[in-house]
């Protein structure tokens, strides 16, 4: 494994986090240290790790309806709602 190019700001963007410049540099230093520790994995031979075949068919769900939550309960946790819809800033395609 070559030294990874961790661009903290880019990755934070993927995770919808916005970091202060201070956080960005602090995390870059800390995570680089952590990633350096992980370099050792590259040296472990994993060629013939057997694939775990699942035993029997797991418990699937029969197609039978169960009660849903009452609408007022659904909306009670929503930060913004109107006319039974949960509201967000306008979604632009």
């Amino acid at each position: 494994m070559s030294a990874p190019k961790l661009n903290v700001a880019d990755v934070a963007g993927l995770a919808r986090l916005s970091l202060t410049p201070e956080e960005t540099s602090k995390f870059t230093a800390q995570l680089s240290q952590i990633l350096a520790h992980m370099e050792t994995l590259g040296q472990i031979a994993t060629g013939d790790v057997p694939e775990v075949v699942p035993p029997a068919q797991p418990a699937l769900r029969p197609d039978l309806p169960c009660p849903s939550l009452p609408v007022d309960v659904v909306l009670s946790n929503a930060p913004a709602h109107n006319n039974d819809l949960i509201l967000v800033p306008k979604i632009v395609e």
């Binding site: 068919q57 769900r61 197609d63 939550l69 909306l75 039974d84 819809l85 306008k90 395609e93």
Partner: protein, 493 residues
């Protein structure tokens, strides 16, 4: 609008390469990963639970019926069914995604390969007579997998409102290889696929209801070139004919651009049906990095421990096989076979009707030409299918003539009852007695001297007036074949 099959007659040096990605909502009672009802039109946010709302701590459990129906679809389309299938997380943020990841299948889908045969009768009406439609081309599929649908959003001035009822609906994604070459073929592909889905009772696949959604990938290249051109993705296609219109436009647009020396952008374009054109959607700088990884909350699904054999039991006769059989064994026309194959309920009704008579083609005529016009519901109609078998037999074996048959049909619609009984009721028994007919013929000859003269002078059509007279006098009950014989005999005497 292009009117020839290839849709490419104005572009003889160009070839379009088209692939489709179709999402089909499965008609199960409950959602993919929870027990909320899978039903269109419920009150907003009333069909929601911790799982499909993405509440903290919730966990998915797969709907066995959704898996079974996907396997049925795969079997009908000739796919390889994976002995072990897995779910994966597809990660991206969007308000219609309760968990901000979608549970889908990436590495190990339920079905791989398969084909969709293009049914000639499912080409656009104006293209059905072309060689291309008659070619019965087979389009290869890449895969079929299962995933969960997203919520529905409504857009206002400054906000959007989200209804999570649809979130979690089982969705089957069917991906075709880039084997399609024309807008007409794409149209036929969707219709043929839909027909298979209806046959398997898997989905109603009505595009206008959002039960079947389609994204298109299209590129163009000069005829003979091996490399593909730059492909463009088209979205916002809301009907099968909309797909055709969008492709016709887009293919023309791409060819025009390339002929002018412009490069085609690898982008997503939105079809605007009203404007009749595609437009660039707000492009993202980078392609999505979905960071797929195996869904840790779900164990892999083994289909070889009963799921596949359960699915095999529900695979119906495929539309193509059904049509062949009806044509060969029942003598129906190709067109009639395609109508029946497209409507299993009607087909079942027809087969019941045809079972009791050897005049199976005639039964098809009655049901498809006459009965279908009354928009019946084969499942609930009081008109028993056996009645049509009876009716066809009566007309064919001389009980009544075809005109009388129509009268019986009319009465059958109004007062459903056995046609034999109706013939009695209407007093329609055909007159085949030579003596009685002879009397009518004498009357006709006496009343139409002009026609008699013409006939004897060599105008053989003149006999029709005499026949008409007999039919009128006999209130349509005279056996037309016998009348013809008797008149001819008398006129040549």
């Amino acid at each position: 609008m292009e009117t020839d099959a290839a849709g490419m007659s104005s572009h003889p040096n160009w070839e379009a390469v088209i692939g489709l990605e179709v999402h089909v909502q499965l008609r199960t009672r409950t959602k993919m990963f929870c027990g909320c009802v899978n039903q269109y039109g419920g009150a907003m946010n009333s069909q929601v639970c911790p799982v499909c709302l993405g509440l903290p701590g919730s966990l998915p459990v797969p709907n066995e019926e959704a898996i079974r129906r996907t396997i049925v679809t795969g079997l009908m389309l000739g796919c390889r069914i994976a002995p072990v299938a897995r779910f994966d997380r597809k990660n991206y943020f969007y308000p219609d995604m309760p968990k901000n990841y979608q549970i889908s299948q990436f590495d190990d889908p339920l079905c791989a390969g398969g084909t969709v045969g293009l049914d000639p009768f499912l080409f656009p009406k104006d293209l059905q007579d072309t060689d291309e439609a008659k070619a019965k081309k087979s389009i290869r599929l890449t895969r079929i997998h299962l995933e969960e649908d997203v919520a529905k959003s409504f857009h206002y001035e400054e906000r959007s409102g989200i209804d999570f009822n649809r979130a979690g609906t089982p969705l089957m994604e069917i991906v075709s290889e880039a084997d399609l070459r024309t807008a007409g073929e794409a149209f036929a592909f969707l219709g043929s696929l839909r027909q298979v889905l209806l046959a398997g009772d898997v989905s109603d696949a009505d595009m206008e209801k959002g039960q079947m959604r389609c994204d298109v990938n299209v590129s163009v290249r000069p005829v003979g070139q091996k490399e593909f051109g730059t492909k463009v993705e088209l979205k916002n296609l809301n009907s099968i004919s909309g797909v055709r219109r969008a492709l016709v436009y887009e293919i023309a647009r791409q060819i025009a651009a390339v002929e002018k020396g412009e490069a085609i952008q690898h982008e997503t374009r939105r079809w605007d049906d009203e404007a009749g054109a595609t437009f660039t959607m707000r492009t993202k700088e980078k392609a999505h990095d979905y960071r797929y990884f195996p869904e840790p909350d779900l164990l892999p699904v083994r289909t070889d421990q009963g799921l596949r054999s359960a699915a095999e039991k529900s695979v119906p006769e495929l539309p193509a096989a059904l049509q062949d059989r009806l044509m060969k064994e029942n003598g129906v026309t190709a067109y009639q076979a395609s109508v029946l194959a497209a409507d299993r309920a009607l087909c079942g009704y027809y087969e019941k009707a045809a079972a009791g008579t050897k005049h199976k083609a005639a039964v098809a005529n009655w049901i498809l030409n006459d009965f279908l016009a009354t928009q019946p519901d084969p499942a609930t109609t009081p008109i028993k299918p056996e009645y049509f078998g009876e009716l066809a037999t009566l007309v064919a074996e001389g009980g009544i003539n075809s005109a009388q048959g129509k009268k019986v049909f009319a009465e059958l619609m109004a007062n459903p009852s056995s046609p034999k009984a109706l013939v009695e009721k209407l007093g329609l028994a055909q007159i085949s007695d030579a003596g009685a007919l002879g009397v009518f013929c004498d009357e006709a000859i006496a009343a139409n001297p002009r026609s008699v003269e013409d006939y004897r002078a060599g105008k053989s059509n003149a006999i029709n007036a005499l026949k008409g007279f007999v039919m009128k006098k006999s209130q349509g009950k005279a056996n037309p074949t016998q009348v013809d014989e008797i008149l001819k005999a008398k006129l040549s005497a």
